[in-house]
């Protein structure tokens, strides 16, 4: 099987500040990877490097032609709460932006585009906000809109940086189910950064655990079995974060 | 390249702000003084910033000549910055009094806050009679500063005033024969004292003498109508600025554009070729003749 992209001996810096080095791993099409690690461990930086937003200090990343040029990537940044509340953009305008990658030339929208926008907004439970100004939404509502923007173009690769941090529990569950469907049925590859180990355990297939280097990369079950979980999260963590597993084991 | 590097001479150093005084000093004193023009050619007082040596030059000079605070408000500050020995000649002295309206307010003592009096036209040099008065002021000042050449200055001054008188006579004579006495002027009208002297009518799109007010469309329309009605289709424009208004009117009416030079300042070439006030005024005479008479 051919890789979707390969990260090879990557190092990332901000100025003279080294964030991480010797990062090597590969992502296969159809993967659903939870990315976790302590604050400041380099999750956001790694993701930005994968998306081409942060130039590598060393090493390189090679992409499969299907996602090269980024025409088929959906992205939700960590800073999902829009800082500029004055910006005049309606929710549907922001979401429609996600469709532009697939267009050429003048990149005008057509009727089917607006249908797609409405469809994804409904899926995320914010259909009635379509005509609101983005700056007037609550934190969680904004996060959902940006999720919709990441997903509207049905990308082959979804890169989500703490997508559920501001979502209420109901929507969070629905969102994870949606992601599961996309991954299972449409074969979308997903990279999901989260501090919510329970959800990672419950929904994703693989775990990439970072701490300025790769601590663990493999299936979540292995992580639970390996000593790493206890080492990082304390003795109770097994019970807490390997929830579905611990209950199976009981 | 600075004036202070000129070979040391014992000549009197004179600094003037505008071209007319500069030329008057040349005519009066010839090579007995070193006269320099403070404002570089073509530079509006707006964009003008002195360099430290400019100021040192003014301070090192014996005489500083300016037109008056309406023409050069910044000159006041240069004067204030000077320490002592400098002799300051306000070349408009006496003329202001002649021109004064009845309702003229007394200055309230604080000359910081003095402002221009509306209706007071600073372009006095364009009236040859006032120009003679300016020459008197300059002669008096130079004589005071350089007593040993005083006689020379007085006699040169008298000769030059005579020339100005001849100029005045020529204007009077020419305008006496003119078919029309209307100057259609597309710039800031500097020729107020000139027009009063010779009983000319004038029309300009600008209302003030300083270039702050924009023209209104009706004024431009009026100018167009005036050109259309006039016998000689001529529109005059001012020196050293891009004559946009004149061009537009000329385009609409087919009028001929003629330069009427108000002599505030001259171009670099003119300055180095040694053009004089009298030459400029003779040029104006010709242009006006062309507009006022038949051919």
């Amino acid at each position: 099987m051919t890789h979707l992209f390969v990260v090879d001996n990557l190092a990332l810096n901000y100025g003279r500040h080294e964030v991480m080095s010797s990062i090597t791993f590969a992502v296969e099409p159809g993967d659903y990877i939870g990315v976790a690690g302590p604050n400041g461990s380099g999750k956001t930086s790694l993701i930005k490097a994968i998306l081409g937003l942060l130039p590598p200090a060393a090493g390189n990343i090679t992409y499969d032609p299907s996602i090269a040029g980024s025409r088929s990537v959906g992205y939700l940044p960590q800073k999902a709460i829009q800082s500029d509340t004055l910006f005049p953009a309606k929710v549907k305008e922001v979401v429609a932006m996600g469709l532009l990658a697939h267009k050429r030339g003048a990149r005008f929208f057509n009727a089917s585009d607006y249908e797609k926008v409405e469809a994804v907004l409904s899926k995320l439970g914010v259909a009635e906000l379509a005509d609101k100004k983005i700056g007037s939404l609550s934190g969680g509502q904004q996060q959902r809109v940006l999720l919709a923007r990441a997903m509207v173009s049905s990308p082959r690769l979804l890169v989500l940086d703490e997508p559920t941090s501001a979502l209420d529990p109901k929507i969070r569950e629905e969102f994870y189910e949606l992601l599961g469907q996309l991954n299972e049925q449409d074969g979308v590859t997903i990279l999901l950064v989260s501090h919510d180990m329970a959800s990672i355990g419950k929904y994703t297939k693989k775990l990439l655990y970072l701490d300025r280097q790769i601590v663990f990369y493999g299936s979540y079950d292995e992580f639970c079995v390996s000593g790493e979980m206890g080492a990082y999260f304390g003795p109770l963590s097994q019970h807490q974060f390997c929830w579905r597993h611990s209950h199976d084991v009981h | 390249a600075s004036r202070s590097q000129v070979v040391v001479t014992k000549n009197l150093k004179v600094v003037t702000t505008l071209f007319p005084q500069y030329d008057f000093v040349r005519q009066i004193a010839g090579d007995k003084v070193d006269v320099s023009l403070l404002l570089p050619p073509g530079v509006e007082s707006h964009a003008y910033e002195p360099s430290p040596r400019d100021i040192v030059d003014v301070q090192k000079a014996a005489v500083f000549i300016y037109t008056g605070k309406n023409m050069e408000p910044w000159a006041e500050k240069i004067i204030q910055a000077s320490q002592g020995k400098l002799l300051i000649i306000d070349s408009s002295k006496g003329i202001e009094l002649m021109d004064e309206d009845d309702d003229h307010e007394e200055p309230d003592g604080d000359d910081e806050n003095e402002h221009g009096h509306d209706g007071e036209d600073p372009h006095i040099w364009l009236n040859p009679i006032y120009a003679q008065k300016m020459v008197d002021n300059i002669v008096a000042g130079l004589a005071q500063a350089d007593a040993k050449n005083a006689e020379l200055y007085r006699s040169n001054g008298d000769v030059y005033k005579q020339k100005l008188q001849v100029l005045d006579d020529k204007f009077l004579e020419t305008f006496a024969q003119a078919k029309t006495k209307q100057i259609i002027y597309a710039g800031h009208f500097a020729f107020g004292h000139f027009a009063t002297r010779y009983g000319l009518e004038h029309i300009s799109p600008y209302t003030g003498f300083a270039p702050d007010a924009e023209p209104t469309p009706q004024r431009i329309a009026e100018l167009i109508e005036n050109v259309r009605d006039s016998i000689r289709k001529v529109i005059y424009y001012e020196e050293l600025v891009d004559p946009k208004v004149a061009k537009v009117i000329a385009e609409q009416t087919g009028a001929k554009m003629l330069l009427l030079h108000a002599a505030h300042n001259v171009s670099k070439e003119d300055l180095s070729s040694g053009i004089t006030y009298l030459e400029i005024m003779e040029g104006n005479l010709q242009k006006l003749q062309e507009g006022f008479s038949g051919k």
Binding site: L51, K133 | P40, V43, H46, P215, I220, V241, S267, K268
Partner: protein, 274 residues
Amino acid sequence: MTYIELAFEALQYDFIRRALLVGSLIALCCAFLGTFLVLRKLSMIGDGLAHVSFATVALALLLSASPLLVSIPLVILASFAILGLSEKAELHGDAAIGLVSSFSIAVGVLIASIAKGFNVDLMSYLFGSILVISQSDVIISVALSVVVLVIVVFFFNSLFAVTYDEEFARVMGFNTRFLNYLIAVLTSITIALGIRVVGTMLISSLIVFPTVTALQVAKGFKMTIVISAFVSVACVIIGVFTSYILNLPTGATIVLANAVTFALSFSIRRLRIV
């Protein structure tokens, strides 16, 4: 004469018709670009580039070259410098404008001083008035405005994306560099031309006022740009006629018309009518 008659009288003059035509086209360009500029905190770019033009005209006169030919490329360069500084030096747009504009004035003054003067008044060379547009300026303005408008419409969605969220636009494979420089070039051309044809005062106002007016009442981006364009053109037309009828300076009257429109839309928002 009634106002209507006066308005018809005004229309018989070439210079009024030119003011209406060129004014409306430049207003349209300014409204289109203004929305992007204001949202990128480049509201004062009209003012800043006017200062740059001052320096370029000084340079042109020093080199005895045509001011417009020297001005346009240098103004474009200056707008690249503004962009570059705000990226590389991590400045807000307005600080970058401040840097470039102060620096340019200083350079202009230095050139004027070194050249020991010019043969023409720098400012008059540069600054136009909407009433006195020459035949050749009409042609250039119409041609360039049409080009600017077509390009903005063509790239509309891309420009919106890069203005709203540059990082996201990059992820989606947009050439954000190209789009940024595109805006810079279009803005420079519009402003350099606008300063010469209608003056700095008017060009600066036309960039800021209509957009800010639209921002008071519009929720979406497309709406903002449409309202802005409408307000901008309407104010030019109203301003030209009003100034003729009331015998006021035209540029200033257009700015006042814009100010009144802004006050209206501000009140609408405050009173929550919309």
